[in-house]
C-alpha cells in the first residue's frame, strides 16, 4: 500500500487550496461532529450551520453531524470522550458536560475533553407574560419573598432550574417550580398565564419578546444586550451581581496531539469568524461570540466552580 505518497499528495493539495497556510497533515478525511441531542434543538441547528460552512475551512472535507441523543446528553458526550483523539471526532460542547459530570455517575469529566472554540454565549433571562401582574423585577422579587412565585423551567436540574435555585438561595425567595421539557412548553405556559414567570435563555425568549407576548424582567448578564436593549440587567435594578448563562462550543477528546490541536483551533477560528457564518448565525438569531480554546477552558472552569457551589441546593431540592 502506498500510503505515504498519497499523504504527500493530500498535503500538497491542501497546501495549494488554502494558500500553504496549514502545514500539518490534518485534515485528511471527513470529521464527525457529534451532537448529543435529537435533531431540532439549538445545538443541532447551530451544528448544522457549522457543517454547512466547514468544507471551506477544512480543505473540502465535510463535518458529518451525528445526532446521539439520550441520557441527558450523556450518550454523545461519553462517545466523544472515548473516541480516538485524532481530531476526527468533535463534540458540540454545552454546559451539560459540567452538569452531567457532577450529578450523574458518568465516566468522564471536564478533563476528558480538549476545548477548541466557543462560538455562542446566551445569557439567562427572567421573563413573564406581557399582561402578567408582575410589573418589573422589583415586583417579582417582592412577590417571591413575601409569598411565592410559580416558575416555569425547561426541566429538573437543567441549567435554568439551577439558576432559579441559586437566585432563591441568594435572595431568600420562594419559587414553586413547574418543570417542562422544552423552552417551547415554557413559553406556552407563560403566554397562557398558567405560571407567573420563567427562567430561560435570551435566544429562546427574544422572538416572543419582540412580538410583545412576553416581557424580560431581568437580564442575568454583566451588561445590557443589543438584542433586547430595553431589558435591564439584574445588577442595575438590585445592585447585587447575579450572572448566569449557557454557551455553545466545540471540543475534541483529551490527549489531542499538539500540532493537530493548533491546526484545528486555527481552522475552527477561521470558520467561526468568517463573515458568511456570522451572517447566517445572525439571521437565525444567534450572535457569534468567538473565543479560542484557552478562553473557552477558562469559561468552563468558571462555570464548573459556580455549579459546585450550587450543587448542594439541587440535592436538597429534590
Amino acid at each position: 500500500m502506498s500510503v505515504i505518497p498519497l499523504r504527500i499528495a493530500v498535503v500538497l493539495l491542501a497546501g495549494l487550496s488554502s494558500g500553504a497556510l496549514h502545514a500539518a497533515d490534518y485534515p485528511q478525511k471527513n470529521i464527525d461532529y457529534v451532537v448529543p441531542f435529537a435533531p431540532g434543538g439549538a445545538v443541532d441547528f447551530t451544528g448544522r450551520l457549522i457543517a454547512e460552512a466547514a468544507p471551506e475551512a477544512f480543505d473540502g472535507h465535510s463535518f458529518i453531524v451525528k445526532n446521539m441523543p439520550g441520557g441527558g446528553a450523556v450518550i454523545g458526550q461519553t462517545h466523544v470522550s472515548m473516541a480516538p483523539a485524532d481530531g476526527y471526532t468533535l463534540l458540540a460542547m454545552t454546559s451539560s458536560v459540567i452538569n452531567n459530570a457532577l450529578t450523574k455517575p458518568v465516566n468522564y469529566d471536564l478533563d476528558s475533553f480538549t476545548p477548541l472554540a466557543l462560538f455562542n454565549l446566551d445569557p439567562g433571562v427572567i421573563v413573564t407574560a406581557a399582561d402578567g401582574e408582575l410589573d418589573d423585577l422589583q415586583a417579582f422579587l417582592d412577590a417571591a419573598s413575601n409569598d411565592s412565585v410559580s416558575i416555569a423551567t425547561p426541566g429538573d436540574s437543567t441549567s435554568h432550574h439551577v439558576t432559579a435555585l441559586a437566585l432563591a438561595e441568594e435572595e431568600g425567595l420562594n419559587f414553586r417550580y413547574v418543570h417542562n421539557t422544552s423552552a417551547a412548553l415554557q413559553l406556552h405556559q407563560l403566554m397562557g398565564g398558567h405560571v407567573q414567570a420563567g427562567f430561560m435563555s435570551l435566544g429562546e425568549a427574544i422572538g416572543p419578546v419582540e412580538d410583545g407576548s412576553i416581557r424580560i424582567l431581568a437580564l442575568l448578564d454583566g451588561s445590557r444586550n443589543d438584542l433586547a436593549p430595553e431589558a435591564p440587567t439584574y445588577q442595575e435594578v438590585t445592585g447585587h451581581e447575579f450572572q448566569w448563562g449557557t454557551f455553545r462550543g466545540i471540543a475534541a477528546p483529551a490527549g489531542l496531539a499538539d500540532d493537530v490541536k493548533v491546526e484545528l483551533e486555527a481552522r475552527l477560528g477561521e470558520l467561526l469568524t468568517s463573515p458568511d457564518f456570522v451572517k447566517r448565525m445572525g439571521e437565525a438569531g444567534y450572535r457569534v461570540d468567538y473565543r479560542d480554546g484557552d478562553a473557552f477552558s477558562e469559561l468552563l472552569e468558571g462555570t464548573a466552580e459556580q455549579m459546585l457551589r450550587v450543587l448542594p441546593l439541587l440535592e436538597t431540592a429534590s
Binding site: N30, S62, I64, K66, S318
Partner: protein
C-alpha cells in the same frame, strides 16, 4: 421435516401463564419502587398494584384466542442467533457488512435457496439502503463501503 411446537398448552393456559408473568412483574415493580423517593415512586407503586390486579383478573377470566401452535421454535432460535451476530458486526465492522449478512441469513432461514442469485440480490439491496440513507437522506451509516455515500 420434523416440526417442534412451542408449548402444547391450550390458549386457556397460555393466558394463565401470562397472568403469572403479570403477577411476578407487578411484585417486582413494587419491590423496586419501594426504595424510591415519594414523588418518583408514586406512579410506579400504583402501576405495580394495578399489574397485580390485572394478573389476578386474567387468571380468573382467561381468553380463548392465544395461539402458540405452528411456531417453529428452531426458526426463532436461529433467527435470534443471526440477529445477535449482526448486532456484533454492526458495532465492529460496519453497517454494510452487517446488513449483507442479515439479508442473506434471513432469506436462507426463511427457505430461500442459497446461491449466487441471493448474494447478488443482497448486494444490490444493501447498496440501495446505503444510497437512500447516506446519499439521499444524509443519515450517515458506518462502514467501509457506506463511507463512499456520505462523502
Amino acid at each position: 421435516m420434523t416440526q417442534r411446537r412451542l408449548f402444547a398448552l391450550s390458549s386457556h393456559w397460555l393466558d394463565r401463564g401470562l397472568s403469572l408473568v403479570c403477577l411476578a412483574l407487578g411484585a417486582g415493580v413494587l419491590m423496586i419502587a419501594k426504595g424510591y423517593p415519594t414523588s418518583a415512586g408514586a406512579l410506579p407503586m400504583i402501576l405495580g398494584w394495578l399489574l397485580m390486579g390485572c394478573g389476578i383478573g386474567l387468571w380468573l377470566f382467561p381468553g380463548k384466542r392465544a395461539d402458540m401452535r405452528n411456531v417453529r421454535i428452531g426458526g426463532l432460535l436461529w433467527g435470534m442467533a443471526v440477529f445477535v451476530a449482526v448486532l456484533w458486526l454492526f458495532a465492529s465492522l460496519g453497517a454494510d457488512v452487517a446488513l449483507f449478512v442479515l439479508f442473506v441469513g434471513c432469506a436462507v432461514l426463511s427457505g430461500y435457496p442459497p446461491g449466487l442469485r441471493l448474494v447478488a440480490t443482497a448486494l444490490l439491496f444493501v447498496i440501495l439502503v446505503g444510497a437512500i440513507f447516506g446519499g439521499l437522506l444524509g443519515v450517515p451509516l458506518p462502514g467501509p463501503v457506506f463511507a463512499l455515500f456520505s462523502a
